[in-house]
């Protein structure tokens, strides 16, 4: 009975979201306030029903209701309860429910937090969100019903959640990522509403901006968590694979980052309007594209859900209506926006423009490279794959250019930067960062690798620039601390965001350049000397978990004769899902990780293992955290609080 309730809730929510998409738009067309006023209550009620459906699905998992096909394939009785809950979004159907729950949740948040916005704008924004929601509700209802029953023979037990997903990282990764993807729907809705109503000024940007920032923060955290998860859970220590699904999350992030920055120009200087609207549409378009790529099976990937061309067609249809529709609207309406901005080449605007161009170009390149195998195959060129080095070579130069632009851009004022001796100061900064960066690379052990040196120089460059910006704020002031305290949170947000970027650059450059690995064959009592560590292999012990058994290797790690730590890499066998998993043993420090993973047992009884040292790998994820903190600070800015 309860699953049927869930299905009814979904059906009701579908109808309601359709109404919530249609009525306010009609109300706006006829300028009929009562009809426009239905947007908020309808949005809230829709969210309520989707929330109910979601709760019922969670309940079905918690009580092991194996009469539901989705529960059968995603769960098993022995699965710990927190994984049962996360198993709800471990597969296609449930993750779609989570997706629509979040989309409607964003809608509800807009409805609740928008009291100061003009009613017609809010109604149209909510209508657009609800129309997108309606499309996805139909998708769930017609192709991916999570409440489908297995009748009449109900299985005794389920098949267990994919062991890869039985992990804290994966409990959180999809919700964060979806919050980000779906959050861009708000910016999208604001953009489409601006195109429909023609209301588009700096007040518009001030409303749209915090929503974009929050979505961006979620997406940043989601991507970082996904990378961290891949790093320790896939068992072999890679942190970015240029896998199509990873790319699918990176592309909206890049465009979203561009959008955040161009919104700043639109808000402060009332410029880049057409461009901002286009970016808002594209950020969400890339999010939808991600959904499409993951779920249609056009591209294959480790992360891909069930490949189902029919579902793919449906999402492609949604993508066409949403994106192509809004871009057509854009083509028809965008010439109404009046750009009235003029700025000098040495100004914040022009550097934000550079930032935007570089980010959009890199998103475009990633798209082209991701889709290249598909296009190549369609043209009869046969199967190809594009290796990670190719992606790196294409993206790294742009990324470093961007970092150098950050160093200048964050110092500049709007419109025209007037400061005596600024050019000279830049030159000094450049010389200083080249000397220091090069020296740093030399000290780390390699002064000849171009990537390492350029990365180190770019890091020093941004650090110097940050130092100068702070100095500039407090120079000559009597009470320096008070001056710093009085700075806007958004200023700190900018600083944090940029510091996060260079932390990621540092992590990426150093781990790529200085990581070491060896594959070894081990018998009990073996000692391996590697990268200054002394590993004593003490043998294998047998460990049993709730739904797995494992061979756990025991490694005592010594450095300079002293025991540093003991690592327990595992080869885990999930008994219900019948899958083998490599669980790495990791000693994590701020400045390096020691990473041991077990291979396989040879016929002689010996084991193979891979030992790796990964310097500064933590900076990748810490950098992303600092960046997100920057985003949060930007939202906390006083001018946004006033409107609520």
């Amino acid at each position: 009975m309860i699953p049927e309730l869930g299905l009814y809730a979904i059906i009701l929510a579908t109808i309601l979201s359709g109404l919530a998409g249609l009525l306010p738009l009609l109300g706006w067309r006829w300028q009929y306030a009562n009809l426009m006023g239905t947007a908020k209550p309808l949005t809230l009620v829709t969210t309520g029903f989707i929330g109910l459906a979601f709760m019922l699905l969670v309940y079905a998992f918690v009580v092991d209701d194996f009469s539901l096909a989705y529960v059968v394939i995603q769960s098993t009785t022995t699965l710990p309860v927190y994984y049962k809950v996360s198993a709800v979004w471990g597969g296609h159907e449930g993750s779609m429910v989570l997706w629509v729950l979040m989309l409607s949740g964003w809608g509800a948040a807009v409805a609740l937090a928008s009291r100061s916005l003009p009613q017609d704008l809010v109604s149209v924004v909510l209508a657009v969100i609800n129309l997108v929601l309606f499309g996805f509700m139909l998708f769930i209802l017609l192709t991916s019903n999570p409440f489908e029953r297995v009748l009449p023979n109900i299985p005794m037990d389920g098949q267990d959640l994919n062991p890869l997903l039985q992990d804290i990282g994966l409990i959180l990764h999809p919700p964060l990522l979806y919050m980000g993807y779906v959050g861009f729907a708000v910016a999208f809705a604001f953009a489409v509403a601006a195109l429909i109503t023609g209301q588009f000024d700096s007040a518009w940007a001030r409303w749209a901006r915090p929503w974009t920032d929050i979505a961006w923060v979620f997406l940043t955290l989601g991507i970082a968590l996904g990378s961290w998860w891949a790093y320790y859970e896939l068992g072999w220590g890679g942190w970015w694979f240029w896998d199509p699904v990873e790319n699918a999350s990176l592309m909206p992030w890049l465009v979203g980052t561009a959008l955040m920055h161009s919104l700043a120009v639109t808000e402060k200087r009332s410029g880049f309007k057409v461009w901002t609207v286009l970016l808002a549409i594209f950020a969400f378009a890339y999010s939808l594209l991600g959904t499409f790529l993951v779920r249609s099976g056009v591209l294959t990937s480790v992360h891909a859900f069930a490949n189902d061309p029919d579902r793919g067609m449906f999402i492609l249809g949604l993508l066409t209506i949403t994106v192509a529709g809004s871009l057509l609207l854009f083509a028809l309406r965008a010439n109404r926006f009046k750009e009235s901005i003029s700025f000098n080449l040495l100004s914040r605007e022009s550097f934000l423009l550079i930032n935007n161009v570089l980010l959009v170009v890199s998103a475009f390149i990633i798209l082209a490279l991701t889709l290249m195998p598909l296009v190549w195959d369609a043209m009869g060129g046969g199967s190809i794959s594009i290796g990670a080095p190719f992606f790196n070579m294409m993206i790294n130069p742009i990324a470093l250019l961007l970092v150098f632009a950050v160093g200048v851009g964050q110092l500049l004022r709007w419109k025209q930067h007037k400061q005596d001796g600024f050019g000279r100061w830049l030159l000094v900064m450049l010389v200083a960062s080249v000397v220091l960066g090069w020296g740093w690379a030399w000290w780390m052990g390699d002064a000849l690798s171009i990537w390492l040196v350029v990365s180190a120089v770019s890091i020093v460059w941004v650090l110097l620039s940050t130092g100068r910006e702070i100095h500039h704020r407090i120079a000559g002031k009597a009470n320096k601390w008070q001056v710093l305290r009085r700075q806007q949170p958004s200023w700190y947000g900018m600083m944090c965001g940029h510091l996060g970027v260079i932390m990621v650059v540092l992590g990426a450059a150093f781990v790529t350049h200085f990581e070491e690995k060896i594959d070894v064959r081990l018998v009990d009592g073996d000692r391996i000397e590697f990268a200054g560590y002394d590993l004593h292999y003490k043998g294998i012990k047998h460990v049993e978990g709730p739904n797995w058994v494992s061979d756990t290797g025991v490694f005592d790690v010594y450095r300079g004769g002293e025991l540093v730590t003991t690592l327990y890499p595992e080869k885990r066998f999930y008994t219900v899902a019948r899958q083998m998993m490599t669980e790495a043993g990791i000693d994590d420090r701020l400045y390096r990780d020691l990473y041991v993973s077990l291979g396989e047992q040879l016929d002689s009884g010996a084991w193979t293992a891979r030992i790796q040292v990964k310097p500064y790998v933590r900076f990748l994820w810490l950098g992303a955290l600092v960046m997100s903190l920057g985003g949060v600070l930007a939202v906390l800015d006083r001018r946004y609080r006033r409107q609520a």
Binding site: N153, P155, M156, V274, G297, P309, F330, A331, N335
Partner: protein
């Protein structure tokens, strides 16, 4: 002049969507499968029954009418998904012969007790020899065998309710 520029993003996205459309359509096409053994008689090889020591030749089973030959194993997650569907088909009176492929007989028996047994007959193929004869790639696979012991259709991957309803039922009825 300016309007033409504004159409650029739309054109770009539209082109992309067209590419996706064709890629997806190809995807749908490639799931239509042909077998080298299609319209050929079942390969002859005596196989041991899962229950008991008797040896049997599957071609003889066809003498009593058409049946489905299902390749399965307890190690195969997709087989578990497929199992309830087989149960339903068996309940409709459809004869299903199971080939327990590269599996442990004990695990297989346990599975059949726990998940209900849709097979009226089960044979063992412990090292996959019969699978090789048939050209099985993996489990599950299902072959449609007519009354003369000829393979008339083959499904690679799991049989779903939708597939049965939309396509397979009519094939079965035509046997």
């Amino acid at each position: 002049m300016k309007k033409v520029w504004l159409l650029l993003p739309f054109t770009f996205v539209f082109a992309l969507i067209v590419v996706f459309f064709f890629a997806l359509r190809d995807e749908t096409d490639s799931s239509i499968l042909e077998s080298a053994l299609l319209n050929q008689p079942l390969p002859e090889r005596p196989l041991k029954l899962l229950d008991g020591d008797e040896m049997i030749n599957l071609a003889e089973v066809a003498q009593d009418g058409p049946f489905l030959l299902n390749i399965w194993g307890t190690w195969c997650p997709a087989c578990r998904t497929e199992h309830p569907v087989l149960n339903e088909l068996a309940a409709q009176g459809i004869r299903i012969v199971g080939v327990n492929y590269k599996d442990e007989p004990l695990a297989a028996k346990k599975w059949l007790i726990e998940l209900h047994n849709p097979y009226f007959l089960n044979v063992e193929d412990p090292i996959g020899n019969y699978g090789l004869d048939l050209g099985v790639y993996g489990a599950p696979e299902t072959y449609f065998i007519d009354g003369q012991g000829i393979i008339r259709h083959r499904v690679v991957g799991e049989v779903t309710r939708t597939m049965w309803r939309e396509e397979l039922q009519s094939i079965w009825e035509s046997l």
